[in-house]
Symmetry: C2
Subunit: 222 residues, 2 copies
DNA sequence: CGGTTATTTTAGGCAAGGCTAAAAAAATAT
DNA sequence: ATATTTTTTTAGCCTTGCCTAAAATAACCG
């Protein structure tokens, strides 16, 4: 049985790889909120377990086995998040924290049971894809609201679950996955972006908008 | 935050106390499946935390604070067991193992949510009482099927969740909480006990029968 | 290219919670 | 009452995963 620490490191490495960032010791240490020396230590351990390859002073790459573990943990996390939201009535800003702990302790049977109870879902409450049992993962959405231009329209597809506060803020404004919108304005010098959903308009800072992943609707809805 | 190990020790001590057994180092070590020296070490730690009192070479008694923690863990355990059985469709022989891990990681909110979803229950799938949020616990059933005599009748109220195999065996025979029965025979020299539920009769070894707690029906149903 | 800076790794420690072996205390038996 | 056995405690060590400080390596800059 792999320890919780091992699972968390693999998950963090997977997410860094997925984001296209080189997985350096310092990036990993920052993601895990530990000292760099601690990250080095764990990397050596994981290399010994053949869960990743380590090029000293360079960085780290997950092996197939390591990626499999990471995806299992992510599957647990996202299924649990969705279950908490859909079945137990959690608000979407609270599911992440609870899922962080549950993801490490639920059995395959538990996973299977909630997967079926939810109707074999493919997305979590934040819109992120849920890996299937074999570790296959639908592509995440890459486009960011912050990169859209006035006049363009689209649909919110994912909102990263980084901070609960941000999720509460967006939730109260109805800025949740599958909401259609149109960009009205984008202020220069990294200024706020203005968008419209239905009859309501919203002004969001550029950083916040970067956390919102969107699907762009083919232009010219007119 | 108390560690999982601390919670498990307190739970084990509580159960030994409840069973009326003196909580010696060796009894605790056996319950926790660790060496006696390890139990001594943890006992000293818990005494330092004021969760129990330790009379060296004598034994151990929970303080009010220690008992409170133990009951919280037990509440989590039993609520989770019931949730797994009632909502997720677990068979009753599998709930214990999963609950052993979940009991340590669920939040108060999770506890509250499943408590309400279950309709504020008071008994787990094995018939054991669920402590309330303030740590109040309805009395458990003391009478054992193994102590009943031929001609007596009653209702099964609790089946201890010690081994999954035993629970499967009893489950397939319908010997579950709230089942009425009548004792037909009890063989001497610790021999088997024969009972009838509805039209079916069962022969159970004395050890197995000792795990079944019953409510005796006032004699003379005739 | 050589010197400075930043990153990574090594070295040595600490806290938890296990272990075994040995010592101390208590219980039991003669 | 003493001797033996059992139980408990102490002492010392191990593993995991974290830490800080120092050393090694790589990257950058003039």
């Amino acid at each position: 049985m792999l320890s919780e620490a091992v699972e968390d490191y693999l998950k963090a490495i997977y997410k860094l790889e997925e984001a296209g960032r080189p997985v350096t010791t310092s990036a990993l240490a920052e993601a895990m909120d530990v000292a760099a020396a601690s990250a080095t230590g764990m990397v050596k351990k994981l290399a010994g377990l053949r869960l990743l390859r380590h090029n000293p002073y360079q960085g780290v790459t997950l092996t197939r086995a390591g990626r499999k573990v990471a995806l299992e943990v992510i599957r647990h996390h996202r299924l649990v998040e969705l279950y908490l939201a859909e079945v137990l009535g959690y608000t979407w800003d609270k599911v992440h924290e609870e899922a962080e702990r549950l993801e490490h302790v639920i059995s395959e049977e538990f996973e299977e049971k909630i997967f079926e109870a939810l109707g074999r879902p493919t997305r979590d409450p934040h819109g992120e894809p849920i890996p299937d049992k074999d570790g296959r993962l639908a592509a995440g959405i890459q486009a960011r609201l912050s990169d859209m231009e006035p006049g363009e329209s689209g649909v919110i597809r994912q909102v990263s679950d980084s901070t609960a506060e941000m999720l509460r803020y967006l939730g109260t404004r109805g800025l949740v996955p599958d909401t259609a919108f149109e960009v009205l304005d984008k202020a220069p010098f990294n200024g706020p972006i203005t968008l419209k959903t239905g009859e309501t308009s919203h002004v969001l800072g550029r950083d916040l908008a970067a956390h919102i992943r969107v699907e762009t609707r083919a232009e010219g809805g007119a």
